[in-house]
Symmetry: C2
Subunit: 230 residues, 2 copies
DNA sequence: GCAAAAGTGTTCTCGGTACACCCATGC
DNA sequence: GCATGGGTGTACCGAGAACACTTTTGC
């Protein structure tokens, strides 16, 4: 083996694409950078990985610092390591995406990472610092596939929701429009939803029924190798 | 930003799961390690990434040193970064898998990486150095999914092949048995195969027709967003 | 002639898709 | 009463799955 010291000169970061869903729009949390490089530009929340910290732990740490939430869905997506992607040296970043309920998260946390944090529509993406736009697109594409094998509504919707809200979520992620009757037929036939026998209140039209996910049934399915597909 | 020097102490490597297909068996190239740690154990070919080298370039370099082949299919899969995965320090590895034609590759290259290199059946996996068994399984699972969206026969089979060979390839990757008639119906209906009007010679049974892939048609399909699925 | 693998069609079932009208509420 | 979104069923089509016998070669 060569002189190892030559190789122990790199740094690792994690960057986190935090998705949320708000009415009809898929959103992502971006920070406004308050330090160089790329000062004042929008970018993904992320940070260096400490020497004694696992990659996943670092991703959870960043997520916790930004959102104050634990126990959220988190998935590693891809690692970006172009030589010149970071002006300060060789920095390789491992990209994660996570799914949070926008309304469980009431206010932005005080954070050493960033002062300004805000939600942005995925459909109206701006230029971001570093290669963060590439990273965001890679994570969005992963989410589009993940939605077919994991019931992402568990993570992105409030505990009680209507079927129309659920449909809008799928439409926002997949960037398609779906037929209302076919969507309902399919989603109800999976038996993962519980009719709460409650309805919306205060809406200026016929109030919709509220549903929740049946987590136990989902876990029983997956334990038996069931493959959730929309 | 903190004192950056504290973070530039990690090393990263690439590890490469090189798949090949031989008659009826999916194989993977493993090296016998001739240095500590894990001396004399089997492991994946891999190496440190140089400071001025992109991740993908490093993976191609390792592949070239091991197989002598260029222009092969290569895909990043997942990054493994547990704190204690490498005894020499903090080493994070980016796992890739690649697909090669076993018979284009006649002999193992002289290499600084390893002296003994050999093919092993994926179906009879042993324990490997480091966390390489986890890495191999992650890459195998990725291949199982990839096979539904990419015609892997392009990469793993010789230029001329029989339908039975192609079927055996899919059976080995997916670890299932397929119905011969249904398989042929489906694969031929995709119009990606060209009947070469030649047959096998010297076999002790009815000789099979030989086919090749039509790369142009495949590229035309993918350009139009076609989704290859078996 | 026998062993060994190649080659070939039909039927059934199920899931996907297309499609239009009445209902309950707030104002 | 009107605007707004909620809620409901049927018919068609195509893909996937199950399934058995004849053909061609080497020995």
């Amino acid at each position: 083996m060569p002189v190892l010291d030559n190789f122990f000169k790199s740094a690792f970061t994690v960057d986190n694409v935090i998705f949320g869903f708000d009415e009809a729009d898929l959103k992502v949390l971006l920070i406004k950078r308050n330090e160089e490089p790329y000062k004042d530009m929008l970018g993904l929340p992320g940070y260096f990985v400490y020497q004694n910290e696992d990659l996943d732990s670092a991703a959870y740490r960043v997520l916790m610092e930004i959102t104050g939430l634990r126990h959220v869905y988190l998935e590693q997506v891809e690692t970006f390591g172009k030589v010149d992607r970071h002006p300060s040296g060789r920095v390789i970043t491992v990209a994660y995406f996570s799914l949070v309920k926008i309304d469980e998260y009431n206010q932005f946390q005080p954070s050493s990472i960033a002062e300004e944090i805000s939600w942005h529509s995925v459909s109206k993406l701006k230029n971001l610092a570093f290669d963060h736009k590439d990273i965001l697109l890679a994570c969005f594409n992963r989410l589009k596939r993940r939605v077919r094998t994991y019931p992402v509504g568990f993570e992105l919707l409030p505990p009680k929701f209507t079927l129309t809200e659920l449909q809008h979520l799928y439409e926002a992620i997949l960037e398609v429009t779906l037929d209302k009757r076919n969507f309902r037929k399919k989603i109800l036939s999976m038996n993962l939803l519980v009719d709460l026998k409650e309805t919306q209140e205060g809406v200026a039209h016929r109030p919709a029924r509220l549903y929740k996910f049946d987590k136990q049934k989902y876990e029983a399915f997956t334990a038996n190798g069931y493959n959730f597909e929309l």
